[in-house]
Symmetry: C2
Subunit: 381 residues, 2 copies
């Protein structure tokens, strides 16, 4: 196990009917900026619940944060936040709204060109405090310090301890009105988050491995059901599993991969596929191309997560096949052609983008070059 420092400061209010907890959390705020996405929260009652909890507080709102939140949109919120001197941001939505709000929080007090926060990873020395009401379990953004922001050609991330949410409200009932596609995406996203922190090489981190495997088994067990049903317990376990997948805990002291995410980001930026769809396309290829390098953990994964036994090579191949089949089982397609993408073009476009972004040595051992990324994509043509 590698050394680490761990400190997750986010306070979680979990369960049905928890949105009123906002009133106490926000009682000291003087001017709150409520951010949200395309307006689904107005249709499903979440907006009304939030408004009721904010009764008596001074707040303004900024809607229209899109999936893969756009820098230009967010900068309009930054201007609003600066003009109105907001002292708290309440993000109501899924990972895109939360990520976008983290950027808004960091950009409002930023001195200089705010694009540098992403393009140059300029240090963030101050941020407006923020909290969240999560309505789509997937990214773990409600409990971590990272955000991914898009601008034209680019999909870039930044990290800062200052944008950990002060609190997050996780009410599984807020997910009831989600389209099936978004729930399915959430399941796949959470699954791949775990894999990025788990499926690398052995590091003698037994508790972290057990926890990672536990989240994977949970997602496999509930995945198809949670997409098709609004059973409270299924949704609660899905929401808590997605949180555990990327709140930082399972990644402590272990090597991490993230090549699948980096390749996937380029696919999304180029072709507009959903984030989770890009991961479902890329991951099976990553595991296959790197199966020598990841052999020991792939065998462990096959045995412990999929209950496989027998010849190790067979276990590895079956485990990868089962991973792809699981994504398909929750209705997330895993082939480029499923999304109308021309594979031959995609290899070149994606590898070209990786080169332009300087992403030349991805993965836990830096072996995923843009050429290897082409091989990975070729396995999901």
């Amino acid at each position: 196990m590698n050394n680490f420092t761990w400190h997750n400061p986010t306070r979680i209010h979990f369960g049905k009917g928890q949105i009123p907890a906002l009133a106490k959390e926000l009682q000291a705020s003087k001017k709150i900026l409520v951010t949200y996405g395309g307006g689904s929260i107005k249709a499903n009652g979440v907006y009304d619940q939030v408004v009721e909890a904010l009764d008596g507080l001074d707040w303004i709102e900024f809607g229209g944060v899109e999936p893969n939140p756009q820098y230009d949109t967010l900068m309009r919120a930054v201007e609003l936040g600066r003009a109105e001197q907001v002292d708290f941001i309440l993000a109501v939505g899924g990972g895109s709204v939360l990520d976008g709000s983290k950027f808004i929080a960091a950009a409002i007090p930023f001195q200089g060109n705010t694009w540098d926060i992403l393009a140059k990873r300029a240090p963030v020395s101050a941020a407006v405090p923020l909290g969240s009401v999560l309505t789509l379990a997937a990214t773990g953004s409600e409990s971590n310090a990272g955000a991914v922001i898009s601008r034209g050609e680019d999909k870039l991330d930044f990290q800062s301890r200052l944008v950990y949410p002060v609190f997050s409200v996780l009410d599984p009932e807020t997910t009831y009105s989600l389209p099936k596609r978004q729930v399915a995406n959430g399941v796949v996203d959470a699954y791949v988050h775990v894999m990025e922190q788990y499926l690398t090489y052995p590091s003698n981190s037994m508790v972290q491995d057990q926890f990672a495997e536990g989240i994977l088994r949970t997602l496999i067990e509930i995945g198809p059901g949670v997409v098709d049903s609004t059973d409270y317990d299924l949704r609660a376990n899905y929401m808590w599993a997605a949180n555990a997948a990327l709140n930082g805990y399972i990644g402590l002291g272990v090597p991490q991969d993230w090549a699948t995410h980096m390749i996937g980001h380029e696919l999304t930026a180029e072709y507009g596929v959903d984030h989770a769809q890009s991961l479902a396309i890329v991951l099976p290829g990553t595991l296959t191309i790197l199966k020598r390098q990841k052999h020991e953990k792939l065998v462990q994964y096959g045995k412990r997560v999929w209950g496989l036994s027998g010849d190790e090579e067979d276990i590895v191949d079956a485990a990868i096949a089962k991973t792809r089949a699981f994504f398909e089982a929750v209705s997330v397609k895993t082939r480029l052609t499923d999304y109308g993408i021309d594979p031959d073009e995609a290899y070149l476009k994606v590898s070209g983008r990786l080169v332009r972004h300087g992403l030349l040595k991805l993965g836990e051992r830096g072996t995923v070059t843009p050429e290897v990324a082409q091989e990975i994509l070729a396995l999901s043509a």
Copy 2:
């Protein structure tokens, strides 16, 4: 899954060579009270490492906190802390030193009779901030808000968010010089902490169950080895497993038992057996007497943790037998007579103590009366 709020504010510095992290953590402190136990830290070099990290800071020390920390001892530290106006407490030791230091932290600013914090659970409205250097992995006290304090006949606990350690340093190498008995106790203590939060009745909390089972499997796998060896990875996994067992995470939203602990506390107070020894005596009986009430989770435990299959009644009995055998395998005896305790006397003494302390309905369903506690102990005569 039940609703919950989760916020663990403790910052963890984990790994070999992490004690120097104290310098930065404590740089703003004006007067630090360093607390420790019987002096083993002076023999194993931990004291010297701490002193070096405190170079340039103003600090005083209070040694001699005993196992099952005694109220009268701790009150001497409280007097010292008040006289010297300490503004930070650094606990260096295991669960007893940490628990004792939490009481010191709460008692220093307490207005009124400090015994009421324990005897009457008087609200704690202020505490001196504290941090820790953990040298014996067992209780999770380095990452939680609870403490158990002894005074004559009584062994009582209190909880306050104000005594969460601000930070804790977990260096597995600090455990190398521990007597085998203490490491074995730590393994059993951590194991039973998990069981108290897991082996109750189903609550549809899949991630929590998976994590609990993962810690148990880890402890089973490393238990005998970690007692006999100072291999770094074994000790690191042991230390991190014990932390995970009682940092609060696996207990979120689930029913909890704690009858074994309450009965065990009385055994320790009456007969002086180590805390973990008392748990090893009580737990097999608790599981057996409550096997109807706990049937579903016992079957799940037998299958997932011990890999058992077949008839459910057989799984339950085998799982309980394997639990007892595991404690014995790490050299923690599980029978009253192993410790020279007269069983017939113990039944009466322990049940009498439970009555005196008003502990009349223990366990996740309140079914463990003092009479049932006698039946439980009778199974470990």
